[in-house]
Each structure stands twice: as C-alpha cells, then as structure tokens.
Amino acid sequence: MARLESWGMRRFCVCGAFPANDCMSHCSFLRRGPSLPRRLTLIWIKVIWRGLRYILKIECNGSEQMTLSWKVGGLALGLVFFLAVLLVKPIGVSTQFVILDGILWDAASPGVVTQTDEGYTSTNAYLAKSGGKYAKSVANPLNYSFVFVLAMMAGAAASVFARGGLGADERRAPALWRANFGDGAGKRYLVAFLGGFIVLYGARLAGGCTSGHMMSGMMQTAISGYVFAVGAFAAAIPTALLMFKAED
C-alpha cells in the first residue's frame, strides 16, 4: 500500500476498478508483485480493449447482432479490397474449391497432376488449362491464394468468437430460414448442399464468384464484373422474393 501511495494513487487502484484501500484483495497481479512496467502494460491492454469494445458497441446496428453500420463496414471492406490489390492482387475465392478438389483427387489417385519441363500439367483438361497454373497450385498448396482462404476462415472464426459465438439454433439453420421453413435441419442441409453445388458450378463457369467478379471485378471497372453482377442479381432477387416471404 505504501508503494501505491507513493505513486500518488491514493483514491483509486491501478486497475481502475476499486478504491485503493483494498487493492491487494482484488488485484491478484499486485500481490504477486510484478514490475511496474508490467502492471502499466496490463492496464493499457485493458484500456485499449475497453475502447475497442466501446467503439464496436456504438457502431453496431442494434437490430442485427453486432453488425457494423454500413458506413464503417463499407469503408473497412473497401480498405481490405484496396490493400489486396495494392500489395498483391485482387481477392478471389472460388478457384480454391477447384484446388482443394485437385489436392483430394491427386491424393486419392496419384498422377492426376504431374511435373513437366515447363511447369505442371494434369490429366484433367481444366486443371491443365492456362499453362497448368491450377495444376501448379494443386502441387504446391502453400501458395498465396490457398493460404488466403485458410486465413480468411481463421479471421471470421476469431471475429465470431470475439463477439460471443453463435447459438445452437443459429448453427443449425439461420433465423430467416427457420421463420420460413421451420426448425428441421434436414431440409436446410439439403438446400445448402444443392446451393453449394450450383454456386460453385456457376462460379467456375463464370470464372469467378462474388469476391472475384462482383467486388474485385467492378472495382477495376472490368466489363466481366458488371455482366456477372447483372446475372447474379437477376437470378438471386426473384429467388429470394419467392423463398423468403416471412420475417425472421
């Protein structure tokens, strides 16, 4: 206590929570007696953490669990797409489904992807196209685009964890689905599976998905991006209007 008073902190504990007179009882780290720099570091981590939580709280749209306002969220998302093209190349995801397919296929029956004098090729025409660039990624999974998707999964998981995780109902089927089709998981899983099939078939036919064509494409004024966006919304809006009539 004497040391605390000598720092001029008579009224409040360094942890900021309680009056200083019972500091030793609630601040276990003071009892263990770490150095002053360490104590100050801990306090600063706490201050920054509380500040971040405060900012996230005021920027959240209260009606939808922890969603950023469109202005903050849009600037953040735009910044990520800009950083990608500034530092490396535009963001894209759907190709990596093909790469993972190739990795699994090559593991199941070796010889699907082979090395040549110029690079890589494959017995599959799609993996062998464009000078075997997909075949090369299959042979070397530790490449930028594949690691990008793994990191993206980790980032999303960390973000969800930091805001408290999802409930059991939400993990099984999203709220809007349950409001329209009930709580049964089987139908939801079937539609998600069929949806995944048609989404990835379409994305590969188009040569990109929502990230690669719609976002990265339109930000570069690529004509293919506009064509893709028109097609995607022309199908998506009527589908959603027909399927989701009830509110969650």
């Binding site: 093209v85 397919d101 993206m152 995944g196 036919l205 929502t210 995607a232 022309a234």
Partner: protein
C-alpha cells in the same frame, strides 16, 4: 512475404465479412428479398471506396497498375452468374462467405462446402464441353483505357483511371441514396451513427 500477406489480408477479410453480416444467411436473404438493404449499402460503399483508392493511387503513381487482374468477359460469365445467383439466394452463401460461416460454427455451411466441392468437380469434368461450345471465348476489357495496363477498353477514347474514379463515386452515391428497405415490411432499425 507473400504467405505473410495472405495471412494478414485473408484474416482481415474474414473478420470484416463477419462484422458486416455477410456470413449470416439471414442478412443475405433479407438483402436479396429487398427487405433490408443495409448489407447492399455496405457492399456498394466498399466497391466505391476500393475503386477510388486504387485508381486514385494509380494516378499518383502509388499503386502498381500491373497488380490489376481483369477477367475475360464471355457468355458463360452471364450464365454462371445466373446459376450462382440462384444458389446464393437459396443457401445464403457464396464461396467466400460459405467457408467463413463454416469456420464460425454454422453446420449448414459445411453442407454448402461439400456441395461446392462436388459442383466444382462437376465443372472440371464438363469443362471440355463448355470449351467446345465457344461460350467461354471473349476478351478481358475495362470500361476505359487504363494507362499502363495490358487490358483493352470497351470505350477506347475514355481514360480508364478517370472512368474508375467516376464509377467509384457513382457506387458511393448509390450507397447513400439507396433506402434502408424497398419493401417497407421489415422493421429496419437505423444504424447508430
């Protein structure tokens, strides 16, 4: 270094996708049935912001034009877009948000990924047919001629970087003008600002 950037940018992308609600099929569904356009405004502002920063940076010589990667436009892009739109609306996931949702504990997203792997494999098997149909041939075009880029322009007389900034500004403007809902039936709370 590239792997390091993949981890940093990838993780930031995943976290932002979660925080704007794009990994939540409920918000995708309500955007596509026009009940709550909050996410649409977010996406439009993001495209506009990224476009202005990239083309502005190119004009100032700060952004490498060689980093641009413009995809080819062909009939299959439109057909594929229609297919993706159908599956996106039904499942609430696109490839990127699907993998993020699965990582954050959504079990239905695991089924989406399984279907996606099978769909991608089906395309790999049927690729020669599409190739032979001629629907995959076209050219990689930008709106205007971007100085220093290898891509041709749809409108050759128009400077591509200026066109990019104008289009970016248009996206930002639409994001601001778009109402929170087009059906008026959703109880859309105004975001705190």
């Amino acid at each position: 270094m590239e792997i390091f950037l993949a981890i940093v940018i990838g993780a930031a992308f995943g976290a932002v996708l979660d925080r704007i609600g794009a990994t939540n099929p409920t918000l995708i569904g309500k955007m596509l049935n026009l009940a709550n356009l909050h996410l649409m405004k977010t996406i439009l502002l993001a495209i506009g912001t990224a476009s202005i920063l990239m083309f502005g940076g190119q004009m100032l010589g700060l952004v490498d034009v060689g980093h641009m990667s413009v995809k080819t436009a062909y009939v299959g892009v439109f057909i594929g877009g229609l297919m993706l739109g159908l599956g996106w609306a039904a499942s609430g996931y696109c490839p990127g948000t699907g993998v993020c949702a699965a990582a954050s504990g959504r079990k239905d997203a695991l089924f989406f990924i399984a279907g996606g792997l099978l769909g991608a494999a089906a395309y790999m098997a049927t690729y020669p047919m599409w190739k032979a149909s001629g629907l995959l041939s076209g050219s990689a075009l930008t709106l205007g001629q971007v100085p220093g880029s290898k891509y041709d322009a749809l409108l050759p007389g128009v400077p591509g970087d200026v066109a990019g900034i104008v289009m970016g500004a248009a996206f930002v403007l639409i994001a601001f003008l778009l109402p929170p809902s087009l059906t008026g039936r959703s109880k859309v709370a105004a975001p705190a600002e």
